[in-house]
């Protein structure tokens, strides 16, 4: 019984962690790309990384918080344009190849020893170089607060403040997506996802809308990157291809093209993975599966889950079965 209570508590702690919020935001961004506009962006992690770099380096260079956020957004904006301008006129799979390649370029250049002064090379940038201004912004009194079994410092690096801001931003983006999804703009994106030639034949500038979607999702991704690194550090290798793939898994789990799907998916992704890992650790003897292997085992299951999801329930948990039953 104690075990179950503890397990439940650790799962809920994981579910509400800042990294989960960051993931949810990243998935909301990817949902604009993939769910609404049908853009196969396999480089979402690069938007996170650019956001994180832009933010951390700006603050390290002495810019105020809001300017740093602006720099982060600008980086993502620029990246979206560089990616989108040449590829959005081409077939969808070119975007896939270019985004994954560009994401790798960003990561490799970021961790390159030449840029050590700027990006910290493969070490990345430690959190204390950039999280000061964010902490300073907190209106919370010092000390710590316990609600149920959630016990954190109010203003610590990984405390209530970052959780409030992280999940607050999730809420803001949910509202934004909800407003957009019901608008003619959202309708147009969905039309493009279905058949861009049809939409083009109706006199709409498909290219421009795809670019808008790419930029919007990328900007949201950059914000996710900032939230992701605030309680920890900027690690180029921690925001690589796998991250993108996990964001996809979260998105498809919750339901692409739905409003709440990405958030639900992100929470479930972390919770399920931790659950698998914990159970494997507790009930499978070490001689069969070591602690380290339980982690890998859980990721193997993530891969399998992604395959099964897209095959058997491509609409995810929240998706409308009917809406996807006509996919050609």
């Amino acid at each position: 019984m104690d075990y179950l209570v503890q397990l439940f508590q650790s799962l809920t702690v994981q579910a509400l962690a800042p990294s989960t919020a960051a993931f949810a935001i990243a998935a909301i961004g990817l949902n604009v790309h993939f769910g609404f506009a049908g853009l196969l962006n396999i480089g979402q992690a690069a938007f996170l990384l650019l956001g994180a770099y832009g933010f951390a380096i700006s603050i390290d260079r002495g810019l105020p918080l809001f300017a740093a956020v602006l720099v982060a957004l600008l980086c993502a904006l620029l990246f979206a344009f560089i990616l989108g301008l040449p590829t959005l006129k081409l077939r969808g799979d070119y975007l896939a190849i270019v985004t994954i390649s560009a994401a790798e370029i960003i990561r490799m250049v970021g961790r390159s020893s030449i840029l050590t002064d700027l990006t910290g090379g493969s070490n990345g940038i430690t959190g204390n170089t950039y999280n000061g201004p964010f902490q300073a912004l907190s209106p919370l009194p010092d000390g710590s607060t316990q609600i149920l079994w959630f016990d954190y410092d109010n203003n610590g690096v990984n405390g209530w403040w970052i959780r409030i801001v992280g999940w607050g931003l999730v809420g803001v983006f949910l509202l934004l997506i909800w407003a957009l999804a019901r608008s003619p703009w959202g309708r147009l994106l969905k039309g493009i996802r279905e058949d861009e030639d049809a939409v083009r034949s109706l006199g709409k500038n498909v290219y421009s809308y795809k670019l808008q979607a790419l930029v919007l999702g990328g900007l949201i991704g950059a914000v996710a990157g900032i939230i992701y690194v605030l309680p920890s550090s900027v690690q180029p290798d921690g925001l690589g291809r796998s991250t993108t793939f996990f964001i996809y898994t979260a998105l498809l789990l919750g339901g692409a093209a739905t409003v709440f799907g990405p958030v639900l998916g992100a929470i479930l992704f972390f919770v399920m993975r931790l659950l698998i890992q914990s159970l494997a650790q507790s009930f499978i003897p070490d001689s069969i599966m070591s602690t380290q292997q339980t982690v890998q085992f859980s990721y193997v299951l993530v891969g399998v889950a992604l395959m099964c999801l897209i095959i058997f329930r491509p609409q995810g948990i929240l998706g409308n079965k009917k809406e996807l039953s006509f996919s050609v």
């Binding site: 058949d195 109706l202 919007l216």
Partner: protein, 339 residues
């Protein structure tokens, strides 16, 4: 209901069909003949695929207010020609930076030059097309499909979209208009169904209705009858004729000769990428070039007649058929890729 397509009366448009046919009777029945009031004039459009020339149209004009049929055997390049005109493909003869002079492709629609204009701009200028393989947006409802066809929805701008009051009024207008059109095309009961659940014929109707949402000056139908069940055929023909009567010029590609005879005012015949004949439906069928083009390729004909079928022409036709099939497969591929 009568106001759902082109609004008001356009000066110079022949609402009276008898008048129109009288005018057309005076037109020279030769390929590339000039029309009394041409809404679309095309020059020097050439499109090659590899070594094969799919389209090579020197000059053609389309009469305003007429229902013009574009016919020809399989592989004649009709759909490619459509794609070129509507900006979905680019002619090899398109003007380049260094060569913009004579011999380069140019076409004028409603007084506007359309040489190097993208598909969206072509549609915006009033020349809206449908597709041979219907492109109903399956995972949108019938109504959403219709609303996408409308013009001037401010809510299609990202920043306006966030604030509903800014686009609500216009949305209501276009919804009313869509409802009218759907009633007319007998799709109103289905307005909340996903377009993917419609039958093939209903999708054709939906696509046509959607195209009409923007009040086009000319609608280009790519094989409107293909895959439509016979029960729907009559009403579809009726719709096309009433479109014309209300002020929309119609250009369509069709295989079905009965339809061509029944509703078209003028027929343009393509074969091997060229315009080989033009004229009113009843006379053009007797043209020797048409008989050669048609009977040679695909109709019940004496295949033993060697004068019709030289080895060379068979090979050419085969190549064209293959090319067109390839295009079709590729389109399907693209569609699959997007789903």
């Amino acid at each position: 209901m009568s106001e759902t397509t082109a609004t008001g009366t356009q000066p110079g448009y022949d609402y009276d069909r008898v008048e129109l046919r009288k005018k057309l009777a005076t037109v020279d029945k030769a390929p590339g003949s000039s029309k009394p009031d041409s809404i679309l004039t095309v020059d020097n459009v050439v499109r090659r695929f590899g070594g094969m020339t799919a389209v090579d149209v020197q000059h053609v004009e389309v009469q305003r207010g007429a229902i013009t049929a574009l016919i020809g055997p399989n592989g004649a390049g009709k759909t490619t020609f459509f794609n070129l005109l509507t900006g979905f493909d680019k002619p090899n003869s398109a003007p380049t930076l260094t060569n913009r002079g004579a011999g380069t492709a140019r076409w004028v629609f409603n007084g506007r030059a359309m040489g190097a204009v993208g598909a969206a701009k072509v549609a915006k200028s009033g020349m809206v097309r449908t597709f041979q393989l219907t492109k109903a947006l399956s995972r949108l409802t019938v109504m959403q499909n219709m609303l996408l066809g409308a013009r001037d929805q401010p809510g299609e701008n990202f920043f306006v979209a966030i604030v509903k009051p800014l686009w609500k009024a216009r949305e209501a207008e276009i919804e009313a208009k869509a409802a009218d059109l759907l009633k007319r095309f007998k799709l109103y009961e289905k307005k909340d169904d996903y377009a993917g659940s419609l039958s093939g014929g209903q999708r054709k109707l939906l696509e046509m209705a959607r195209a009409l949402m923007s009040d086009p000056a000319m609608i280009m139908l790519d094989e409107p009858m293909a895959g439509v069940n016979p029960a729907l055929t009559q009403s579809l023909l009726g719709h096309i004729q009433s479109l014309r009567d209300e002020g929309t010029t119609v250009l369509f590609v069709e295989h079905d000769m009965h339809m061509v005879r029944h509703i078209s005012d003028w027929v343009i015949v393509m074969a091997e990428g060229r315009i080989v004949a033009e004229g009113p439906a009843d006379t053009v069928m007797d043209d020797q070039a048409v008989i050669d083009a048609y009977l040679g390729a695909h109709h019940d004909t004496d295949l033993g007649d060697d004068s019709l079928l030289t080895d060379e022409s068979i090979e050419e036709l085969e190549a064209e058929v293959k090319e067109e099939d390839a295009a079709r497969v590729e389109t399907e591929h693209n569609e699959e890729g997007k789903a």
